[in-house]
Amino acid sequence: MSEASELSAGGTGTMRPPHPLLDIRGLHKSFGTIEVLKGIDLAVSPGELVFLIGPSGSGKSTLLRCYNRLEEASGGSIWFDGQEVLADRIDINALRRRMGMVFQSFNLYPHMTALGNVTLALRKVLKKPRAEAERIGMAALEGVGLAHKAASYPGELSGGQQQRVAIARASALEPGLMLFDEPTSALDPELVGSVLQAMRDMRAAGMTMLVVSHEMRFAREAADRVVFMDGGVIVEQGPPEQIFGSPRHERTRAFVSEVAR
């Protein structure tokens, strides 16, 4: 941890590691005496869609939230686009806007319209003039098929529409990586499809995505790699055919047969 910090503090940011966009090494996270992440190593290449699956409490969401430091990791290192995320002197706000995050509970701002939700960070973080922010925001809403709802408040939208606005809010900032924390878990079944479609479109556009989700069919169809976590460690990872078809570990097999109804 300390070595990595020193490296980044000394570096100028020009020496980016060649391959992975996101590179996690030996990541630990404890809440008090409870160790939730027990040494995670994971690398994500540009354009890759990585699916994190596992029983609840296995640390998937915590892992995701460590990437943009909504949770502070207890140890290990995270490199993103050539920067050490856990370094003390990093500009965390600049980093966060390059890692879009979509939450299970949408977390749209209820006092702003859909367009207001999408343009807030464009105006306040990227300092775009209002007209330009609104042009970008409308394009982002268009991208999730909701340009006609730009003037609606979150309370007037369905869950699926709210989540797509949340996706537009994150993607309007042109992040290098999108983190999805159970994006469809709070949705009625008939609304899931529209959100998955938005994610599919995003993947087609070349976005690097890390997805914590229980949508196994979507994982099978869209993921480049599936990572199975249990008890704070990565038990097994590989292409979806391997994880769902012929898992090597007993725990993976048990979980997959449990969720594949």
């Binding site: 943009n68 909504l70 706000n93 600049a94 980093l95 966060r96 806007r97 890692m99 879009g100 995050m101 939450f103 509970s105 977390n107 749209l108 701002y109 209820p110 006092h111 807030l120 960070a121 306040k124 973080v125 408040y153 309370g155 007037e156 949340a166 809010r169 994150a170 900032l173």
Partner: protein, 224 residues
């Protein structure tokens, strides 16, 4: 019945006293307006600093807030007006009333706004920070607007309550409504000026209460 009318609605007294009551009403409005502005702004500022500062600020703030919420405003008014001159600080009665009522309102307002701030869901904060907004931007654009909507009703109540306390000014000689009325009562031995005072308060507060309702309904945003 005639005696009742004579002691509460004496036409001659009404004619001679109304200019005094009116000047009292003006003074009451002046103090009330000043107290509302400074008290609410100070309370808002304290809640925001508390949000950003953490524990080292919370303890002394708690002391101030609990003190000014617990001690009756009348006691504070007397204490400051008659106490401070002993240490060489002489404040005009108007300023003492303004100061005390502002601090009392600020103490209540801080607690109300703070309750609103912590009632806003954690996810709002996280979503804002995840898009790169700073802590202060998150407070200003995302958390505070939602907190204030929750706070509007209790703040309105508290504002009305504190402006009624301007009547305390009478004990230190601020020439507000009650001061004018009691002066007129002591000269005439008739209760009519007090009834006129009560009427002046109605004139002042009915519109304020109506305004409060209007603000409350305006601030309620569309929910599911």
């Amino acid at each position: 019945m005639d005696r009742f009318l004579d002691s509460f609605l004496n036409a001659k007294l009404i004619a001679t006293t109304w200019p005094a009551i009116l000047s009292g009403l003006v003074v009451t409005i002046e103090i009330a307006a000043l107290v509302v502005v400074t008290g609410l702004l100070l309370g808002l500022a304290l809640a925001m600093v508390r949000w950003r500062a953490g524990r080292w600020f919370a303890w002394p703030l708690m002391l101030f807030v609990d003190l000014f919420r617990a001690v009756p405003p009348l006691v504070l008014v007397l204490l400051i007006f008659f106490g401070l001159p002993n240490v060489g600080i002489e404040l005009p009665s108007f300023a003492v009333l303004w100061l005390v009522l502002s601090l009392v309102l600020a103490a209540f307002a801080e607690e109300i706004v703070w309750a609103g701030l912590i009632a806003v869901k954690r996810g709002q904060h996280e979503a804002a920070r995840s898009t790169g907004l700073t802590e202060t931007q998150t407070l200003l654009y995302v958390v505070l607007p939602q907190a204030l909507r929750l706070a509007v009703a209790p703040l309105t109540n508290r504002t009305i309550a504190i402006t009624k306390n301007t009547a305390l000014g009478t004990v230190i000689g601020v020439p507000e409504i009650i001061n004018q009325a009691t002066t007129a009562v002591s000269f005439s031995g008739n209760a009519t000026p007090l009834l006129m005072g009560a009427f002046a308060y109605l004139l002042l507060f009915i519109p304020i209460i109506g305004l409060g309702r209007l603000i409350e309904s305006r601030f309620a945003w569309r929910r599911q």
